[in-house]
Symmetry: C2
């Protein structure tokens, strides 16, 4: 064997193991303060999303499944429309994972094109409650889940995202890693958990085309399956060791284009993925946000109002065109959030696209529907080139009186470069909780405040809902 | 719209719906007697496999997960090494699905290259017990599960199988369809169950390369996930409607080559997939069976014994070379069953390759290991062309004294054309139960006899273990 072969083999065998070793050994005291603060920001933001989604029919159905198949009570809390709020960790995460993704307000990690909070926090919270972990343990496990999940999403890359809901396929591994950290698994068992998670990775975009509920299945099951992977790894089930780069593994089977191997273990411990996640300000698909912000900016800068606008062209990246091209005109509230035309109509008319701005009545609003028809998406090669490192958008507006304006945004509101303030997060969470029918603002306030001092919690048991 | 467009659209929209409609509406009285009899054959065969695998470490780990996350007792039975035998339907199927696949004795459906019993019966049995279904209902649901699962496997085809464990990816849909039938879902909800099952479809071959336990994860989770899909469909969760042929669905995402669309709905109700499944006689990967039978026949015909053999060339199909090429020399009992060389060594030396013929001692047997080295696989274009419709194999043996023999088998023992007799099935089940440490032959006998009169059972509750 030549030295070149040896070194190549070492690289191939070590990336996923190196990631597993890092994940198994991370300690709270290793974490920079900005990482701790940002984790709490996203956790509090996630709490609001989870409460907001709890009455959705998909969440109700999943919650019924949990009640029927799981224990009647347990150590882990979940939200749903009923009063039965505890179960085992796996089922709690299943329900909360579904619930926290359904109103399209949970965070988005740009480079991996995935939503980490909705797959990491449900698993980490449920397991932390199962094992009686501290707030600091919970934060550390959540950082691990973000890091591992998002790195896998980056590894799988843009071409994977064309076919698969990366939040699910990267997410199941993030959930497994967070769980394994809370179970204090060593590197070998962490690697097993990652392997067993990866061989369960699934989630297709087909549901977007007929406005069905698979998005909630994907996130809920990513949590459940990740927890399954880590608990069974603890108890002796061996997961395959090279589930990312192996010749019959995820890269080979689930990526039609090229993978990004460096994403698996590059710069581990120096750069935290959680610092690169973006809050969602608008309650619509994240791919609409740069264009929505550009349109708002343009209208503000030039004094253009809804009624003035004859047409809008949004220049965007290919992935946005792919995803947003699947939903037609948007027949349901959820599907309408994936229509660029409808979202820009809402933004233009209301000056915002918050959760309360997408209703059954809005779907019937002929002024929105007519505006929607006058919005076109176009591919912009430069914007596409920068994606997913940067999520930019530009709009060209023609007014009814023949004027033309253009506006580009480099960063959308909520991006790491333009994060929400704590005050904005609090406001968002109150709105979300209210939307979810959780009409006790004082209790929401206490919940938020407890979130801000999360690292001081001696136990996550009985924390939340 | 031209008539051509209309007809094309009808075809596109209707294959999976037609399959769902057939699955939702099948009645016991529709079933030809040979279908009923064959279903019982495979069910009894499956009972033996399930008992045999119950003490495997992977099954134990999964069983611990079920105990930790599921209810302490329930209506559905499962086998494991402990005395705690009931839980909810989803967890019972999880454990039994893992257990029934681990000793490599469960049936194999040729055309779809998948093992249907291990993904259909665990789900159908657990749900039948949950809802108190009759034996006739259970048989009908199992026929539905075989039909839908195997048709999906055939649709996904050979190129899918190169990357994915089709038993898992087709199996989750079969499990969902069987469950949905027992829940008496209508066509629309059956279609939802199929959609939700398909968006969870997962299972990669990578585990074969390092002798890890994902095969048990794949079958157990296919059952669990299929049950999840059907129960949530019943309770209002909408699954996507075109999960097989849609532009972002399984065919597009999980099949690198060509799909076989006719397999989805061709000749529905006239031809039953369960009649095309094969029993496994040898306790090794099904891809080794045609070669093993050819070698046994050759040795018998020409009076050749183990010690005479200098070398063996097996001429086979590409899928066998792909799968069996992943396992190296076979470091564990399970992995050794995937080594063509090791299996042929066992067959040549012992005259059989039953479950008791693969032990830790055999792994250390230098005569087997030396023989293994002298076995080579070669691609045979004609055999490859006929696969997976026919699983043929041929061997060329050179003896130490320079003689050369060749033998071809068109059908392996257990194939639909050479099925096991009931007496052979009974003997196999007793051997399997004994292997699994179930040392009450009288109880096994009663269990088998109850299996033979399955259609007369008024309730599947408390049926088995």
């Amino acid at each position: 064997m030549t030295s070149q072969n040896i070194s190549q083999e070492a690289v191939i065998n070590s990336r996923t193991e190196r990631l597993a070793s890092w994940a198994a050994n991370l300690k709270f005291t290793d974490l920079p303060d900005d990482v701790v603060q940002k984790t709490k920001d996203f956790f509090v933001d996630w709490l609001g999303c989870t409460i907001a989604g709890r009455c959705h029919p998909a969440v109700r159905a999943i919650s019924k499944f949990a009640s029927h198949m799981g224990p009647a009570t347990g150590k882990s809390e979940f939200v749903d429309g009923s009063l039965d709020f505890t179960t085992s960790a796996a089922f709690a995460s299943l329900v909360n994972g579904a619930s926290s993704h359904v109103v399209e307000q949970d965070d988005l990690h740009n480079r991996s094109i995935m939503h980490p909070a909705t797959v990491v926090f449900p698993a980490a919270l449920a397991v932390a409650q199962d094992v009686g972990a501290t707030g600091a343990d919970f934060i550390t496990a959540s950082v691990v889940g973000y890091e591992v999940g998002c790195r896998v999403g980056e590894y799988l890359g843009k071409s994977h995202y064309e076919r698969f809901h990366s939040t699910a396929t990267g997410g199941v591994i993030g959930a497994a890693a967070a769980t394994a950290h809370l179970l204090r698994l060593d590197t070998a068992k962490m690697l097993s958990a990652i392997g067993t998670a990866g061989t369960q990775a699934a989630g297709l975009w087909q549901f977007l085309m007929d406005a069905t509920h698979s998005k909630q299945v994907h996130t809920g099951k990513a949590c459940f399956d990740g927890i399954f992977a880590a608990y069974t790894a603890r108890d002796g089930l061996l997961g395959t060791k090279d589930i990312l780069e192996g010749s019959r593994a995820m890269g080979a089977a689930l990526v039609p284009g090229t993978t990004n191997p460096d994403a698996i273990d590059g710069d581990l411990g120096n750069d935290y993925e959680i610092l690169r996640s973006s809050f969602k300000w608008h309650a619509s698909c994240r791919h609409t946000h740069p264009s929505a912000d550009a349109l708002l900016k343009l209208m503000s800068n030039h004094g253009v109002v809804f009624e003035d606008i004859e047409s809008v062209v949004t220049r965007t990246y290919q992935a946005a065109i792919n995803v947003l091209g699947m939903t037609g005109r948007g027949e349901t509230v959820h599907q309408s959030k994936f229509s660029m035309g409808f979202v820009l109509a809402v933004v233009a008319k209301k000056g915002q696209a918050m959760i309360t701005d997408f209703t059954e009545d809005d779907l019937e609003d002929s002024s929105l529907r007519e505006f929607q028809q006058r919005v076109k998406m176009e591919l912009d090669p430069e914007i596409d080139q920068a994606f997913p490192e940067k999520w930019m958008g530009s709009v060209i507006v023609i007014t009814k009186d023949g004027r033309s304006f253009t506006e580009l945004v480099e960063f959308a509101k909520g991006d790491p470069e333009l994060p929400l303030t704590r005050e904005e997060i609090e406001r968002k969470v109150h709105t979300l909780a209210n939307y979810g029918g959780f009409e006790e603002p004082e209790r929401v306030k206490q919940l938020i405040e407890r979130g801000w001092r999360l690292e001081t919690e001696v136990s996550m048991a009985g924390f939340v809902f």
